[in-house]
């Protein structure tokens, strides 16, 4: 498959680009909700509009009301989200939770998928424990209790946790903290007794929670997939979320770069546009080169992941997802740092948007593993 968008994908990109630029703009969404100290950090109206366009169910099967598309298409939407810094529960709901629910029972699908399709529901995933992403270690416990389970422990960096109608929680049902096996995924409803959220606003104005589970009673039908067999589903959820975050990161990088290159053409000092100075030209050209490479590896990983999902997984796809996540983290980081520096003083002001790119990039880098985590994973998967 060639590494560029086909005609249908290009059309989707046009639609998504136009929609996000108009409805999802920084002014209409990010600044609007931030300046009103919105407890969700995003607007439900936009989320429902995304449902009307079909975006929210992009990864879901057509039988479930979705578009039946893959990670390339989800990435197209995410790249535009990144470009416009559009706050929305797309990544946690339509990519992460939706991927988990695809492996759920018919009952779970009937209960939770219509809300994804319509854009009326918000879901989150609770994976991390502690300040750094390390899904190999899961301490949160779910013990057998009657016909169901009793969930205890704490999850961190649960993005949109307090706004969610349901949380996908990765918990240990057997074995010890670092075992690969013995993990089970649960769909925990918003009103579950014993679940409490400590909501915190993050640097990028999104809201995440430290979520405590204090003996939360769950029915057996809250299990997604098989008891003790959650690791494989979790890996799929992680792959989907990581490549999704990478696609969004490419959007952030491109948004920051475009804004900066425009500024180089407008800002005059010493009687000429600062873009005439070779010291800045070469840095901008280097950045362009890195962003192009990041885009290429993201589409490569998306295609591999889509092919792997049809054929039941592939090591190459796993590897390239981590390559993409690491490469994008480094590249978008470069884009926003160069962006702020080349904007000079106004780059430091809240009034100017470039700083918002820097903040979003930082949160995205951390989400589901930073460049160090994924470069280390590349080394491990490569055998060193």
């Amino acid at each position: 498959m060639p590494l560029y968008h086909d005609d249908d994908q290009a059309m989707l990109a046009d639609t998504a680009s136009q929609f996000m630029a108009e409805e999802g703009s920084i002014k209409k969404q990010l600044r609007h909700w931030r300046d009103r100290d919105c407890k969700d950090g995003f607007g439900h109206g936009l989320w429902e509009q995304m449902g009307e366009l079909g975006f929210t169910g992009i990864l879901l099967d057509e039988d479930d009301g979705g578009l039946g598309m893959g990670h390339v298409e989800a990435g197209i939407v995410l790249e535009e989200i990144g470009r416009n810094l559009t706050p929305s529960p797309f990544l946690t709901t339509s990519v992460l939770a939706a991927t988990a629910l695809k492996h759920g029972s018919d009952d779970l699908k009937q209960r939770y998928l219509p809300g994804v399709v319509s854009g009326k529901a918000v879901y989150a995933v609770a994976i991390d424990e502690g300040t750094k992403h390390n899904p190999a270690r899961i301490k949160t416990k779910a013990e057998k209790s009657g016909n169901g389970f009793k969930l205890s422990g704490q999850k961190d960096f649960v993005v949109h946790g307090a706004s969610s109608d349901m949380l996908v929680v990765a918990a240990r049902t057997s074995g010890s903290d670092d075992d690969a096996d013995g993990i089970t995924l649960f769909a925990v409803p918003r009103d579950a007794a014993g679940m409490s959220h400590d909501a915190v606003r993050l640097v990028d104005s999104s809201v995440a929670t430290h979520t405590k589970f204090d003996g939360v009673e769950l029915d057996g039908d809250a299990v997604i997939g098989e008891v003790d067999g959650g690791r494989e589903i979790l890996n799929r959820v992680l792959n989907a979320g990581r490549i999704g975050a990478a696609a969004e990161g490419v959007g952030v990088a491109r948004g920051a770069m475009d804004m900066t290159v425009d500024y180089l053409k407008q800002r005059k000092q010493f009687g000429k546009p600062i873009g005439e100075f070779q010291a800045l030209q070469h840095r901008a050209a280097h950045l362009y080169s890195e962003v192009e490479i990041a885009r290429a590896v993201v589409i490569k990983a998306q295609q591999l992941l889509d092919a792997a999902n049809e054929n039941g997984g592939s090591e190459k796809a796993e590897l390239m997802v981590s390559v993409a996540k690491a490469k994008v983290a480094k590249t978008a980081g470069l884009a926003v740092r160069e962006g702020v520096q080349m904007h000079g003083g106004i780059g430091m002001t809240d009034e100017y948007d470039i700083g918002l790119y820097m903040k979003r990039d930082r949160a995205l880098q951390e989400f589901l593993g930073d460049a160090y985590y994924h470069a280390n994973r590349v080394a491990e998967l490569s055998g060193y």
Partner: protein, 393 residues
């Protein structure tokens, strides 16, 4: 089965039957490369058998039309052949500046007579070409070149000097930029083709920091260059005084080639190999190798994407400059890390264990990657101007 799947199957079978096991190993060094030419000799029977099989099948230049010695493969077929060759680590049967540089120029600008003659000679490995571009005073600023061809009716008399002519001392013919109008900077250069054995040409290898001499100084002392080699076969490509158009076109190809856009060793990850080689890795070195592998694997995806886009005309015309910049900087980093992982063994200059100092010589050789074919700095200038549209660039 689709036509392409059938082609893949057929190609696998053909490679299985025709590519000897000795030719299914990565190229280790210069001696493993077959360049062709009047004075060429094969290093082994296997090398000859593989070359002969490819010539017969048109696989020395698979994408060229059949009448010019190629196999007439479509772009997707050529990609499949590359993938299948790379799957078994098959070596290129023939390497040459004729294939990489002159061929593409002739396919684009050449007359039918030139294509019939020169392309077939290249495809069969009969003539080894070299490239005469740079001069001592004209490196990055190539268009300032001075080598002059004086018009004598049916021929020119060429005087001057070229430098960094790759393997000029082993080449048969040269494609050479010669000034034919001193008044016109850009429209006063002709892209000439001539035999280096015809008299007046001397070459002098340049000893590099690697201890090797892949480049020469090439001197022209009253060299007679015919304006025609027969019917429909001019001694120059394109039009007289419009050689700069051809040169620019070719520089694009050179940049693609140097960038390693086609994949292979130059874009591969190295961490695992370094561990196998060294037994253990310092944790900080391991971390740098991991970061390098991320960049290398990402760049290999870029190479693939670039080639896919070139095929359908989606690539930005200046994108080869970006590929060249990123690819060569990556390759220099690769060799820095290989030297670090290799430790004191990698410092050995002549030992048998290092194949005559390969690690250090190759490391030093890579320093030219970001100089030859347009420096990294020039590449960044071009990206600034043509892609980012920055002012005054």
């Amino acid at each position: 089965m689709s036509d392409l799947e059938a082609f893949r199957e057929e190609t696998r079978q053909w490679l299985e039957a025709n590519c000897p096991p000795e030719m299914r190993q990565p190229v280790r060094d210069e001696e493993d490369v077959y360049w062709g030419g009047r004075n060429a000799s094969f290093k082994s029977d296997a090398q000859k058998a593989w070359f002969d099989a490819c010539v017969a099948k048109g696989y020395t230049v698979p994408a060229w039309p059949k009448e010019y010695g190629g196999a007439g493969l479509s772009a997707p077929e050529a990609k499949i052949l590359r993938q299948e060759m790379s799957r078994i680590s098959a070596r290129p049967p023939l390497s040459s500046f004729g294939i990489w540089m002159l061929g593409p120029a002739l396919l684009h600008f050449g007359t039918e007579g030139q294509k019939q003659r020169f392309l077939n000679e290249i495809a069969r490995g009969e003539i080894r070409w070299c490239q005469g571009y740079s001069e001592p005073g004209s490196g990055s600023d190539l268009v300032s070149m001075q080598t002059f061809g004086e018009d004598r009716g049916d021929h020119w008399v060429v005087n001057g000097q070229k430098i960094w002519t790759s393997y000029a001392d082993e080449a048969d013919w040269i494609f050479c930029l010669v000034r034919t109008d001193k008044e016109n900077k850009y429209q006063g250069i002709t892209f000439m083709l001539f035999d280096m054995a015809g008299g007046g040409v001397t070459t002098k290898p340049i000893l590099l920091i690697s201890g090797n001499s892949p480049f020469c100084e090439t001197f022209f002392d009253d060299v007679a260059v015919p304006k025609s080699y027969g019917d429909d076969c001019p001694g120059y490509v394109g039009e007289i005084n419009r050689g700069w158009d051809v040169a620019k076109y070719l520089l694009g190809h050179e940049r693609e080639m140097i960038s390693g856009a086609g994949g292979g060793d130059r874009t591969a990850a190295i961490g695992a190999a370094m561990l196998r080689h060294s037994g253990e890795l310092d944790p900080l070195l391991r971390a740098e190798l991991a970061m390098f592998d991320v960049d290398a694997l990402a760049y290999s995806a870029m190479g693939e994407k670039f080639l896919d886009e070139v095929k359908v005309g989606k690539a930005h015309p200046a994108q080869p400059n970006m590929m060249k910049y990123a690819g060569t900087e990556l390759n220099k980093r690769r060799h820095e890390l290989m030297m670090s992982a290799g430790g004191s063994r990698a410092l050995e200059w002549e030992s048998e264990e290092t194949g005559g100092g390969k690690p250090s010589r190759n490391w030093l050789r890579t320093k030219a990657n970001s100089i030859e074919g347009g420096t990294s700095e020039v590449m960044l200038n071009v990206i600034s101007k043509r892609i980012l549209d920055l002012p005054g660039a």
